[in-house]
């Protein structure tokens, strides 16, 4: 998603904050566009504190250790009292991490352990961020097959939540894992490899951190490659019709609907072998702020808002970049938000998206683009893409604004289309609903209990998901 540039927008924002805050803020509140009672959860006070990136999840753990290596992690796991949860970058919006026990940071378990250029695999410390990993691999002439649109997540966190990019023939990151080392709650290291532990690997690829802490992974890599990015705007009706074909034509295709504009932005990435490389432009970072400004000024009048947007949108404008894949596929998010994302069978993607657009546009406060991507199916037992090629549909709200409608209004639509929620993004599903979505659910729970018989890797959120009431 294209994001606003705070540098270029700072003056305008300062003005709004300093000069017109009382008037504009009061106006929005009085019109019901913002509900000050639904602001982000206030910080907790006293003791150790943890919160996720958006601030929607918070905790006061008894311990917040940052082990320097696997041996320290083992000792920690063996000696820790009570619940243990690990976190990478805190980019999950669901309550995967909060506990009053120990929250383990993977920050220092970072870097490439080794590379096997014959097998085309790399062994990586679990706390390595995807951006760090991409640069380190590139230095050795290698790259990941695909990347999500944010690259600050750690590899352990990313695979454990089914994190994915886009591409009709490209599966989520966890599908490229061929081996892993997991430190169990008892401090034991379990080493798995797909060549000898096929079932256990199918369980462990996406485990929500419930088996222990992933200290290392070995994953398939490709020779480093360049991509050619194209961005263009079209009326959303055109894109809804063209999207399935565009997904077939491009290595990576995704699109975003800009609420209350009638327009969508299409983004494609294809392999590029030319030498005339071109870094992405200084960015279209102002888009988010402009969409927000449009909402702030005309949110009460949705038809006028759409008219104004269409008046100024030039559908002939395009954008391009040609460079290393990791420089194009991921970006940094400057505006914090909360998000809900579900994955539906590919053949139901467009129909579901149409209904999600209609649901979101019942809320005049909405301004974040609705994200639509394609993901190839895989066989991991708790992969949201288990056994089926999928489309993902993501809805967002600014972190300082209400987000509950994203869950309440959209979940029934997703579920009607056989959707499965992203494990790291806001949803309210529990054991009953989830167990019906995954054919290998019971097998997963059996393996999980082998790794963690006492359930020490489960916090309240995971007990709601994994333990039958």
């Amino acid at each position: 998603m294209n994001q606003p540039d705070f540098q270029t927008l700072l003056p305008r924002r300062q003005f709004i904050a300093q000069g017109a805050a009382a008037t504009l803020g009061g106006l929005l509140l009085s019109h019901g566009l913002l509900d000050e009672t639904q602001a982000a959860t206030p910080p907790v006070s006293g003791g150790l504190q943890w919160h996720n990136w958006s601030g929607v999840q918070r905790a006061t753990p008894a311990a917040l250790p940052t082990p320097a290596n696997e041996a320290e992690l083992q000792a920690l796991m063996a000696s820790a009292k009570g619940e243990i949860r690990a976190f990478g970058s805190g980019h999950s919006f669901t309550a995967l991490v909060p506990t009053t026990g120990s929250i383990v940071s993977l920050d220092r378990l970072s870097g490439i352990v080794s590379v096997d250029k014959q097998a085309m695999t790399a062994t990586i410390h679990g706390g390595t961020r995807l951006g760090v990993l991409s640069r380190a691999l590139d230095a050795q002439g290698l790259a990941l097959r695909n990347l999500p649109d944010v690259d600050v997540q750690t590899i352990a966190g990313a695979i454990s939540t089914g994190t994915h990019g886009t591409g009709i023939d490209l599966p989520a990151l966890h599908a490229d894992i061929v081996g892993m080392r997991i430190v169990t709650p008892g401090g034991k290291v379990v080493e798995l490899h797909e060549s000898k532990d096929r079932e256990l690997m199918a369980a462990a690829r996406v485990s929500l951190g419930s088996f222990g802490v992933i200290s290392q992974v070995t994953m398939r890599v490709l020779p480093a490659y360049n991509l050619h990015r194209k961005v263009w705007l079209r009326p959303i009706e055109d894109l809804l019709k063209q999207a399935p074909q565009l997904a077939q034509q491009h290595r990576c295709f995704e699109m975003y609907y800009l609420p209350f504009t009638g327009y969508g932005a299409a983004i494609s990435h294809d392999l590029y072998t030319g030498t005339d490389l071109m870094l992405p432009k200084p960015s279209d970072d102002a888009v988010m702020a402009d969409l927000r400004t449009l909402r702030d000024w005309l949110g009460r009048f949705p038809q006028l808002r759409q008219w104004a947007a269409q008046k100024f949108i030039d559908p002939n404008m395009t954008d391009e970049a040609r460079h290393r894949a990791y420089r194009l596929l991921s970006s940094v998010r400057p505006m914090k938000f909360n998000e809900s994302e579900w994955h539906v069978p590919r053949e139901q993607g467009i129909a579901c998206l149409r209904q999600i657009i209609a649901a979101i546009e019942k809320h005049n406060e909405a301004f974040f683009p609705i994200e639509f991507r394609f993901i190839k199916g895989d066989e991991a037992w708790l992969s949201p893409f288990h056994g089926r090629d999928s489309c993902s549909i993501a809805v967002h709200a600014a972190a300082d604004e209400p987000y509950e409608y994203l869950i309440k209004d959209c979940a029934p639509i997703y579920r009607a289309h056989q959707g499965r929620p992203h494990w790291g993004k806001l949803h309210e599903m529990g054991f009953k609903e989830l167990s019906a979505m995954y054919p290998r659910w019971a097998d997963f729970q059996r393996v999980r209990q082998q790794f963690d018989p006492q359930g020490r890797m489960l916090n309240a959120h995971l007990r709601k998901l994994f333990v039958q009431a």
Binding site: D5, T8, G19, A20, R129, K281, D290, T293, W297, P334
Partner: protein
């Protein structure tokens, strides 16, 4: 300028009119050379460099909304807020930046050192 920005920037004429009289011009965005240079910069201290590389570089060493390492125009207005404010932002998180800037084991001294490195003059 990308199509979306081009299209929607036009809508900002109203607040921009009001701004014209009371705001300084925004700093110029970094050029490709600035970005390429930032990617190669590291703190001289090895331990600080390791922390920078696994945490800060993801956002400050690439073209993003975060102020680019070694790009003075982006840091000038931030530095004007004072070292304590910058430390507080780094420690607590600010705008898109997570608390401690993705460096769980960074001390306040580490954060001060990293801010000084990123905001410093041409290294």
């Amino acid at each position: 300028m990308t199509p979306i920005k081009h299209a929607l920037l036009s809508l900002s004429w109203l607040p921009m009119l009001l701004l014209a009289a009371c705001q300084d011009a925004p700093p110029p965005p970094p050029g490709d050379q600035d970005v390429t240079r930032a990617e190669s910069l590291r703190p001289a201290d090895a331990q600080l460099a390791a922390k920078y590389e696994r945490a800060c570089l993801s956002c400050h060493g690439v073209r993003s909304a975060a102020p680019l390492t070694g790009f003075a125009p982006a840091w000038k207005p931030r530095l004007a807020q004072g070292a304590d404010v910058l430390l507080s932002h780094a420690r607590e998180g600010f705008n898109g930046m997570p608390a401690k800037g993705l460096c769980s084991d960074c001390t306040d001294d580490d954060l001060r050192g990293l801010i000084a490195f990123m905001s410093g003059p041409a290294q």
